[in-house]
Symmetry: C2
């Protein structure tokens, strides 16, 4: 082979003595309707093999077939350390499933730019056949464009936006949160306080809904939490605190700090549970596992179904297995 450019269909065509279009048809795996003389087929295939031909992915894509690339878009610089606990396992799940399905993965790095910047950034995902999105919030406009133009996307995490038209694979926080509070009730706790962060997102709403269903009273954190606040809750009869879990782990850290400052001991004076796993969580903290890895894998499979137009269920909520832990106990008294 002459060093230089890789072989193209025209090269094969010239050598095999057929037209470039014929080469395309043979190599394309004989589309329905088109039938080749077996001898032609063989000849083309032989030459292609000889030349070490491989289709140019970009041209293939532009001519509107597939690239077998799926995107993963995160709205900030990827590998942000503060979301490592969720991002890594998701990435692993996505990678594994993508590899299993023969898809390459394109990591799109969101720019922190202005509106138009971000629209441009998001439109880049069109190189891929479809794209996974991951982030607490949705930039409605660019996502709406994608959805409107029927570009396949799947969100990792529940998304109620756009009138419920966004496909997603999320975690069933409502059930997991309600179950956790229910477990506390079984342990005799009657007054249960739920502490959540200020920032809102579907995952926060779902957790709150779950704990409310199970009868907990909600406090929204805006700033710190003095030890006195915890003491006064106890005074009101509160025997258990449940805290939200987010990437920052702020609620957990804050509450734990206030409990320590109040000189209370867990779980004797007070039970403590987390709606997830605190960052770097020791196994003794009671809570539940968020199935990040499975979410990533499932999201890939959903996306590929969407791309290949398989009939499928476009929205999934995955079960969060409970983590028993040792920070809850029977209600005192």
């Amino acid at each position: 082979m002459p060093p230089g450019r890789p072989p193209r269909q025209v090269d094969i065509a010239r050598i095999a003595g057929v037209s470039q279009a014929t080469v395309s048809v043979v190599l394309g795996g004989n589309r329905a309707g088109v039938r080749m003389a077996e001898s032609t087929r063989r000849r083309v295939l032989a030459v292609a093999d000889d030349l070490g031909y491989v289709p140019h992915p970009v041209a293939t894509r532009l001519a509107s077939a597939r690239t077998n690339m799926i995107g993963l878009y995160t709205f900030r610089a990827t590998f942000p350390t503060e979301v490592a606990d969720s991002y890594y396992p998701i990435l692993v799940g996505v990678e594994d499933a993508a590899a299993a399905l023969g898809q390459d993965l394109v990591l799109f790095t969101g720019t922190a730019g202005e509106r138009t910047q971000s629209a441009a950034a998001i439109r880049r995902v069109r190189v891929a056949d479809g794209c996974l999105f991951f982030g607490r919030h949705v930039p409605d406009e660019p996502i709406a464009r994608l959805v409107d133009s029927r570009f396949p996307i799947v969100y990792i995490g529940r998304r109620p936006e756009l009138g419920g038209r966004i496909p997603y694979v999320g975690a069933d926080y409502v059930t997991a949160s309600a179950d956790l509070v229910a477990r506390l009730r079984e342990l005799g706790h009657r007054r249960i306080r739920y502490v959540r962060e200020a920032d809102d997102a579907p995952s926060s709403q779902d957790r709150e809904r779950g704990v409310r269903q199970a009868g907990a009273v909600v406090t929204r954190l805006t700033g710190g939490l003095p030890a006195d606040a915890v003491r006064s809750w106890l005074g009101e009869g509160v025997t258990a605190i449940v805290v939200e879990e987010t990437d920052t782990g702020a609620a957990y850290t804050t509450v734990r700090g206030a409990i320590d400052a109040a000189g209370l001991s867990i779980p004797d004076d007070l039970s403590l549970a987390v709606l997830g796993r605190p960052p770097g969580a020791a196994p003794e903290v009671t809570g539940f596992e968020v199935p990040y890895r499975a979410m990533g894998g499932q999201a890939v499979r959903l996306l590929v179904d969407l791309i290949t137009e398989q009939p499928t269920t476009p929205q999934h909520l995955l079960h969060c297995p409970p983590v028993p832990g040792a920070t809850i106990g029977p209600a005192p008294g």
Copy 2:
């Protein structure tokens, strides 16, 4: 905007009353030589903004500009657990640098397939502007094709293949290994045994070269290592063992096992050092750090230099900082 397809240059052209080519020129940032009437420029820009135009990345690429995507090719299914210790930090370094340079990252998953399969797999990387490679061994033919066709690639890890024409960013194992043995000599060790695995690769050769330079005697492991072997080394006057470090950590595990079986205590009876960090390494094991993250970042910068045809040094070896640890001590006696 009508939902449906995203705006293209023709759409802008029609509305602005200019030709599509003019739109391309204006949007392309006014190539050298071409000058536009300011009014035309403004009009085109305004319409483009209005329509929310963003160039179609695939078409852009096919028409031979850049995609701002760089590839990362690993020769096995990505995220293989056994190389996690090296793969993750490399990935983080690559991601960070790519994001900083405004490049998207395409993760190419190697197929375990046959020769031609792998050639096909490797040619996929051409979607990107350039590609990073990572793996102990080089599949010469496909890589040669890439290099011959002047497609920019950078290996993570030293690569002497193809007559030294492969750009790379590696670790300076020779120096780090020699230094480690030198440290043992300073502690009074005179007979030092180096135990390496059977598989060969540049990283293995470099480590071996380093320890040989510093006067260690080499044993190549093929199978297990009986406790007797270690005892007989001691009988010959050996007071320190240095082991190779690879992704599997096999040499370390094997040697450590043999030492334990021989009932020897570290570092009193025997000093032990590792040319790297054993998987899940406790900090007390003496060795050195492989700067994986920096290698990943540096590789990206090199690749982008190559892509943009900046003058640059195409081969780098990075320093490996020593880890003092506590498994070496003065030579007994």
